[in-house]
Symmetry: D3
Subunit: 302 residues, 6 copies
């Protein structure tokens, strides 16, 4: 890895260490920005079109300005990916992050209309710490902090105003330093984690929160498709903590982890406390679907 990772800022490629934006940018002053995160399998972006369309929906939902056409966005993203792929260690995969803010605010300097940033990261970095959980399963905890109300910022927008994600993280760690938070909505339904969706297996059916107050996860949708392909009934519905502590199996899905077993919920075992059979089946189907062993990948970099 002799090449240096580069960051894209408003058309410029900048070395990662020097990738900075003005403190007067709306992203800094008021968290006024949206994002997208896409990963590669075998160095190809996974379902890029779906990610790109969701990003455009986030831009619309947040009433942001963005001048690139979908085609231009595809090209600049692809170009950015190719420039950074050579920085990956052998066997590793990469993630591309997009950030679109409303631009610099006019507090002292002239306003600008949009800030567009792309960054690249080796997936191994975040996943290596998580490899162990593919075997023992995660501990999911519902924090006191509630998920963003759709009337404030709709969670279907992938927005960056996420101080509550940090609060949720801290609160989950009060219960268990290894725990990860699953936020409830304001009626007490399970929603999503700080970057992942949640699934339960209850009496042979796959249950997951409806899209009302969660991000429309691409890995979530992939999982639903694969599950239906296996003949499973998948229900998108309101779920409560009761469902989790009485489920047979549980798992989470995310861009980075794909499918990750959950074996504890608020301190109680899920099922027998081991990754479930259907969960393992779905992990295998995922591996075939993306032609990539994401578990082996995570372990290799541990």
């Amino acid at each position: 890895m002799t090449k240096e990772r580069m960051v894209y800022i408003n058309g410029d490629m900048v070395p990662e260490n020097e990738a900075k934006i003005s403190i007067f940018d709306s992203a800094v002053l008021i968290g006024d920005a949206v994002l997208e995160t896409t990963r590669t399998f075998n160095h190809k972006l996974f379902r890029w079109t779906e990610h790109r369309n969701r990003l455009l929906r986030s831009i619309n939902g947040a009433r942001l300005n963005f001048d690139l056409t979908p085609k231009e966005l595809d090209e600049v993203t692809q170009e950015f990916l190719l420039a950074n792929l050579p920085t990956l260690a052998p066997g590793d995969e990469g993630g591309v992050g997009h950030l679109i803010s409303r631009g610099r605010m006019g507090l002292v300097l002239p306003t600008t209309t949009t800030t567009f940033v792309m960054y690249f990261f080796p997936l191994s970095r975040g996943l290596s710490k998580k490899a162990i959980y593919y075997e023992k399963g995660c501990h999911v905890v519902t924090p006191a902090t509630r998920h963003m109300h759709p009337l404030t910022v709709d969670p279907k927008i992938k927005y960056r105003s996420r101080l509550h994600f940090s609060l949720a993280d801290e609160e989950a760690r009060l219960v268990d330093p290894e725990a990860i938070p699953l936020m409830l909505d304001h009626q007490g339904n399970l929603t999503e984690g700080t970057g992942w969706n949640f699934f339960l297996v209850c009496r042979g059916e796959l249950l997951t929160a409806s899209e009302r107050n969660i991000l429309q996860g691409v890995s979530r949708m992939t999982t639903i498709e694969l599950a239906r392909g296996l003949g499973l009934t998948v229900k998108e519905q309101d779920l409560q903590s009761y469902h989790a502590v009485t489920a047979d199996e549980a798992f989470i899905t995310s861009t980075g982890m794909c499918v990750m077993p959950v074996t504890r919920f608020n301190g109680q075992l899920v099922g027998d406390g081991k990754p479930g059979k259907l969960t393992l089946d779905l992990m295998n189907r995922w591996k075939e679907h993306v032609d990539f062993d994401f578990v082996a990948h995570a372990k290799r970099f541990t």
Copy 2:
């Protein structure tokens, strides 16, 4: 004004144009930061101790790390102010902004524990556009976007995850390009604007939202004290839009504007559509209290 405005970033003084932070800072990636804004009257910070204590409460409320003692924070702030005061045009006053984030996130570069930024801005810049409203009064509009629910991030924390402020601004402008948004809470009560508190005069009493879901505004508290000094009854209570459209007078308070009349609400006149008598009385009391004519100041720089 030969001197250049400087920004303080983690101990360094940086020219404003070069004041940037890493795109991997939690402030950028997830809006995970708190803030404070304080202004000068006659080049002295107004009620700094109250602002500083509120900043420390925000840090606690957001579970952030911050190593400076209150005394050190006082000193570094004072020093920063003195360094920037000479950049002000004659007759102008300044604002000091604080930003404390959780620091750089470990996506690719090593994490850091806290980012501490201070910036300085001439108040004339923002106020000059508002001078006219001291005479004709503002138009306040309640946007569709609801204020942050206290169970997500308590509005008593002065946090930077404020994408909803931008949405509220845009929605208010749909009604009137000059309108400013007053957000409702999730039960439909009036809360606060995107940086200001709201007061009504109803049958001789001063009414304002209770502290349940608003920032504990320093200018708000100053106004309450001054009003009580004038013998007025001040009630902090749940208010609805009905109160505003049937009020005799209305005004807003903020660090920059101090007291600003409101003469229209959701397209309807407040009272007779002119700044009210009690409002003008309070503006005069304010001017005496701070020994500064903030209306003349704003007009001078128009």
Copy 3:
């Protein structure tokens, strides 16, 4: 009583039996109208200015058009009263009702901008049936139907879209044909009846719902003033059914009934099931205040 009661419709005086409005009026087609009801004591309107101001606030709150100045409204109302007072039986008192609608809708006929109706009624007619309750007290029941949410139509507006009042009446009568309904709000707090406010005496204090989701009753405010004059502590706060079934006394206030004891609540006795001592004291203070024995008046016409 040789004279005929007259109704005022958009400037015309019409005999009661012929007092009709177009079925295309917004009052008929969509209940789009506000109202006010004022009564006389000794043939003088009680607190007319307060009623008139509330009517003007209702007009504003409902975004209706109304061209008369307050002074013109005073005059036309006074004139209307004088024209109808001679129709009263000896010893009786009268009520004046105002109705302001948005006018005829343009479904088939041309639109008009406002419909303004005043009607007159002898108070004895409604009160004679209620006289008995001054002695045995009313039975108040909380119906299933919830009070109008302030985000739909603020109950501080005295509006005519009151189908839910009829539903509440019917539901209360399911429990007891003599019962009258006290609606709860959407959080379960006690609000008001279908035309009256509710008071409790709990351990020496007078408790009543805050103005958040009730009409700002003139008789309610009169009662609060009289109670404070008697040295009582009066608290306006959220109340639940618990307060009523554990109260020492209860009563209601309204334009017609002034103060009326309540002795049963949802089938349970309030206190010892008889009108309370403080209630009777307040009734006496009322009689002095208005220089009129409203109980004797009701009984006389039984």
Copy 4:
């Protein structure tokens, strides 16, 4: 058109100009009435049985008295229609409105048990102003006023207590004089307009609000049937504003307009800002289904 349009009031046929009801009717005093509106295609009532059954459900839901049997209601309605059809201009169609109130209230005159009114209107009158929107699409705005809570009056009842409809209309016009309001429910979900239902096309699927807090629209159900006939997936679910601003297409359905494209939502374009392909397909299917070109009809009378 030499004949005069007649109104039916409690068994009498009255010329439109003289069609009035007592100001003491519960419809006038408290908006205590239900309604139904049905239209003709080619001079035949469209799905009358469904409209009639819904009217009977509204009567039940509002606990109103109504003595006619379904068969008698059919007959009197048909008779009323036939009497009025000759008043239509050539090529025009008609609408029949039903109003059932609880009858005259006993404030001064004796009570009556039910008021039953039918009126007739040429559809051209209302539609001619809307013809242009079949081509450019409507602008839908979500007003501050929330839809009636089902615990106050269930929106599945077609009730006349609709002051909030007027408030919603006025608020929408603040944004755009041509805009029409789509009310949110108290959780922030999209419900319905002031007389129409709302549909979205999102990634090939047709989405519309579930029946929880909207009227069970006959045109809505017709549209769902036709869409399913075209092989489309139709989902009745909770929808938020996000869905509308990220949809590919949007339209509304109502008795008068049948299907009408929507091209703007809260100031943002829906899709590319032009009536969508699927919307146009459904409009064509509707025309076939009712054997009537409702667009041409509206344009003819512009």
Copy 5:
């Protein structure tokens, strides 16, 4: 019936009259216990495995300790049943109740970890009073008391903290001494009764509340299966009182009553006020399914 009914308490068989637990048990002091009720048809437990699994889910949901394996629980239950069956009168059937509490609390005596009680009752005792309703149908009333919020104790747990059931019963009886209560949830949706689920027949479809805030009733699920077997569409969805008063038929399901017609709802007739045709069909399918005429059984013991 010469044998005496016995109660099982922590491993001991005790005569019913002497079946007592310490007043310091958590079941007594804080209602901290879960339950299950199962019945026999032809002296065999109906769907025991489903009941047992639900009991285990309740134990998990309530974070109780319970040491028996499912197999041991099966055996001890079966043994208990067999010991008590001989106490039944000829032709009668029995019910088995399970109670699991957190054990004795340490207020004065040493704590214990679990209290496990089983009791037995002849079904005829409770059903004989209900036999008449199989013919005339029940009167269902929605009480003021709301169902337990899932964030307090999830109604999917069959818990014993049911003071609100008693309140609901008393309130329903205020309307009609024979009425039984159907609780609403905090949004106003129909949930369940004090031990039974509720079904409606609306235009040929079977509607029942979704599992969000009701017990996952075994008889409810049996009914859904049988209805689907008859080719009926069954929808689990949010329902409001409107659905009940406009339904064609209604009925309830419970362990003891199986299927019981409902003919009145809040004082209004459901359909024509007689048990509906589909209801009777389902009752017949039930009788076949369980090979037992539960109506005849109830009548025999009247």
Copy 6:
């Protein structure tokens, strides 16, 4: 301590070990009972009249039957106390618990109308474990479980259906085995613990939850009186977790502990993490008020 503690059950005095009630009692089967707990200082009941009145209010609120007059209840309670006081160790104090249930349910045995139990406990038993916290302060944690909604069972009733108290306890212990739970209400406001009220000292003022959804605590009211006697401002208002983590001091009040400092809240220090000065002042005022050193008492029995 040669005497044996006795329990009162429906008129009988029973040795503690044999104090049992039928498993068919409504307290056991459905937690249908209310309670009261009173303690002695110097072997005299503290504010018995207030406790007794609250018990009578609970009985009313729960629609229970209770035949004793207040005077009889006073006598039987006093008699019971005197019988048990001799069982106390030297220097110890006692607690008296009352339980009133709806009586035995008619599942198999005949119904009874009321069950009335009194029990006695040495306060040292529970307090000895808590003595250490008078010095280091408690750790208060807000659990996921929400407090009972007033529309289900009003928390102003001291009821025994408290499974949610156990859930809250377990959840608090997930964070810290020593932590105690402070439940939030359904809007996210702080309410009360599982038997205690909560106070904060914020900038010199004493803040505590309003009585809307908490028990009307006798120790709470005593503390408010003492604080006002010290010249402190006491505010009863909605409080959020923000208030606790930014408070200067915090403490709880209960019958057993009187006043107990709180030094941690959800893992964060309150103030400087030590019992606060005003808290200590109030503890001293309490000791004077009750003429008893409750801290020394607790320590003596450690």
